[in-house]
Symmetry: C2
């Protein structure tokens, strides 16, 4: 039923697609570039959503829904915005059997339409801040689609807020960056680096873009979420004004921020191994699979095993578990399937275990014998909960160690060019776009971010040797 | 701040739109026919979603996400389907700066694209049943848009299942009808009538469509959810086949079913009154608002009141509450706002109540003095929970009594024509489309459904007097 998955070392891109399709996470749709998120992938996305959503709500944000269609003229109101998005637009020209007077854009992002609505809703400083998020689908034409990473339609949340001062908007932008970082580190077990984008990489129309950057299993970088300080650019383009306490009209300061189904791609690539997915327990749709091993033609043994399984299930608390009682399939076949699907923990239980009053606990993150332990039947629930915590913590440690082992601090441009092929290069940058461009041309690497946390002191640009205040992370990226 | 809302008796349609906009449930978008669901409306929709979603999951369904865009050729594969939907399509002709070879349809519903995916995924009887739902936006061109009831883009869930036998598919269709009925009655407090659609009203491409039909405050009918037995129509159009246990290729039997943001319109119209919304406690975003009444310039009193409020909040359990401490606004102004927003229960507490160790509990569903009671401060949490249950039950009773009082059983066609203007007419129908058409022409009323529950015995068609086995519900409808 399963084809052999190519090892990551042989063909990482192929491994990625095979894992996704064989684990039934997602599939390509008949429309080029579009994706179907299958139930298993969607269950993971639902857990991502729930974790992010509860953080947004706890920090005072509310959800809403804005329209899919945006008048073409709206997109054209902010100069950088239209330049950035125009090549990627899908355009509705006909509706209800007629040609439309003004073509409609299928939203690639919603700053413009939401900006327009905010201009209608916001009158006074008392109406501020407005803190709204939406979970939505967006469309960006995509020439080289890849499941979860770059698809023509993708799913995301986009937060859009309006404030009375720039300081407040900046604070919001960074508050969200903290939420994204906390989510990535503590739920997805991905040690992201929060930082600022260089001007050439920022969102079209933003003053400053912030990002969380992650390292994938092939040592390339991936932008896993962004938070933008939009200044007054959209407020001016869409006339979002409020009457301040002194009865003076002021333009608002706005922000926008998003995490998309790309996060699923990040989880797959940060943790997956040659057997398939390895999902972090806190987000895994199924945290524990119980595989009863029932010898053929021995109905008594089978019944005894199933009784023991039922007893264990009764004791489990707060665990998302599944009993795989497909007795027609061999234990090995079933183990493979759940390993492919990345279920963090497996219980194996057969007649021999029953006799010893024990079960086998097998960790997905440590394949083979090393990840197996025997647990007394009476203590399964406890051990399962502890083990899930341990796996979660170990996955983060492992991903952090991997990233750190593949992060280099070259001291010459020559060394830089070498190491940037092999992972993240931390190096000083003068802030000049010419140096950034040279790196891109020489190595295909880009500035992933200028980390929020900077070392003391100063030094010289890795490219031009001019004085450079800040360290940047350079890498080849998705 | 609030404009006066027109009484329902004067202009029901205007009342409806005014309530929605002033309660900040939703707004029209700049694109004609499109809607913005504002945070308060969306919070209600989130509660609707949660209730339905947990029922779907408990009955074995999983969520997934299928693409927004469907190739035009797909829509054309099922003859009735294309006939029904073609006039309503929005069409993407350009993408990524180029004219597309095949235009893409923005999904009006997803039978075709999901049918195609199922044909790829389903091979054997072991793969069946497939029980998938998606929460999605869909687009149907709309000439006479009305918020929540008919908008060009709307939000819904659409379930799509595939089975190995017709009996199983029928069972699924009716299982979902039961879930919809249970949700409407027990969560939305709307006494819907589950029944079958006549052939002329069924879903384009279905064998049989089932529906839940509700009566609105103006005595018109509203279809609040549908469940379709699609037979093998889509399985044949999209080649959804499986190998049965005898190694024979068979076509699947499929179903589809949906509830949309229209349900929000139903809740507004089934319960609202001249003061605004009246939301059922089980779905209300805010179930209880606490309004501290703090006299100006008496800081001590204010502190004492706020302390008492804090104490009450500590005791509340499992209640979605909000403290409206906008002391700048008069109590009356605040009461009006929360009445407009339909919050089921209000606590008023001021210095005089403190002195008597009591609070005022005011029910939204019974305006004025009759809905007010005094509750001892120590017992607030208990009383609140009980009162919310009582309000929920009373709202259902009231809506049921209203529907029953406006449901008639005319015995002549003359009487029928009169009463069908005034509510639901229960009358026998021979099953002939000619009679159905005549009713539509004479009265603008349509067959809302042929109820599942039928009286014993038989009789004659209300229109043509031929033998008629079944009773139908006729009404003018949204």
């Amino acid at each position: 039923m399963f084809d052999k998955i190519v090892p990551r070392s042989e063909d990482y891109a192929k491994w990625y697609t095979q894992v996704i399709r064989q684990a039934e996470m997602a599939d390509y749709a008949p429309v080029r570039g579009c994706m179907v998120v299958r139930p298993y992938g969607f269950a993971l996305w639902e857990n991502v959503k729930e974790q992010l959503d509860s953080r947004f709500k706890a920090s005072g944000h509310q959800n809403a829904a804005f329209p899919l269609f945006i008048p073409m003229s709206f997109i054209e109101k902010e100069a950088e915005h239209v330049e950035g998005f125009k090549p990627e637009l899908a355009i509705v020209t006909h509706g209800g059997g007629k040609k439309l007077e003004e073509p409609l854009v299928v939203r690639p992002t919603s700053e413009t339409i939401i900006g327009y609505m905010y201009s209608q809703w916001i009158q006074s400083y008392r109406d501020l801040p407005v803190l709204i998020n939406q979970w939505a689908n967006v469309v960006r034409w995509e020439m080289r689609p890849r499941l979860f990473l770059r698809t023509m339609e993708f799913f995301w949340q986009e937060g859009h807020t309006a404030h009375s001062t720039h300081a407040e908007a900046e604070e919001e932008t960074l508050r969200i960056l903290d939420i994204y970082t906390d989510f990535a580190v503590n739920e997805a077990a991905i040690p992201v680096i929060p930082g600022r984008k260089s001007d050439s990489e920022k969102f079209p129309g933003a003053l400053t873009s912030y990002t969380i950057e992650a390292m994938m299993g092939d040592k390339r970088g991936l932008q896993a979420g962004t938070s933008h300080d939009l200044g007054q650019n959209f407020a001016k383009a869409f006339d979002i004004q409020y009457l301040d306490a002194n009865q003076k009209q002021q333009h608002c300061w706005t922000t926008s921020w998003g995490v998309s189904t790309r996060m699923i791609g990040a989880i797959i690539m940060a943790h997956g191994d040659d057997q398939g997915l390895v999902l972090p327990p806190r987000l895994a749709p199924t945290q524990l699979v119980i595989v009863p091993i029932t010898p053929k033609n021995r109905e008594d043994d089978k019944q005894a095993v199933m009784d023991a399984v039922a007893k264990i299930c009764e004791t489990l608390e707060g665990v998302r578990y599944h009993v795989d009682d497909r007795h027609d399939y061999s234990p090995g076949w079933r183990f493979n399937e759940w390993e492919l699907k990345g279920v963090p923990l497996r219980i194996e239980i057969g007649p021999r275990d029953l006799a010893k009053n024990q079960v086998v606990l097998a960790r997905r993150d440590i394949p083979g014998r090393d990840g197996k332990s025997f647990v007394s039947s009476g203590n399964v629930a406890n051990e399962v909960n502890q083990m899930l915590d341990t796996i979660q913590a170990d996955m983060l440690k492992r991903a952090t160690a991997f990233r750190d082992a593949n992060t280099f601090e070259p001291t010459s441009y020559e060394a830089f060019q070498e190491v940037v092929e092999e992972g993240f290069a931390r190096a000083r940058w003068c802030g000049n776009e010419t140096c950034e461009d040279k790196v891109r041309e020489d190595t295909q690497a880009t500035i992933r971010c200028i980390p929020i946390e900077q070392p003391d002191g100063d030094g010289n640009c890795i490219v031009c040797s001019a004085a450079a205040e800040e360290i940047a992370i350079f890498a080849r990226a998705y």
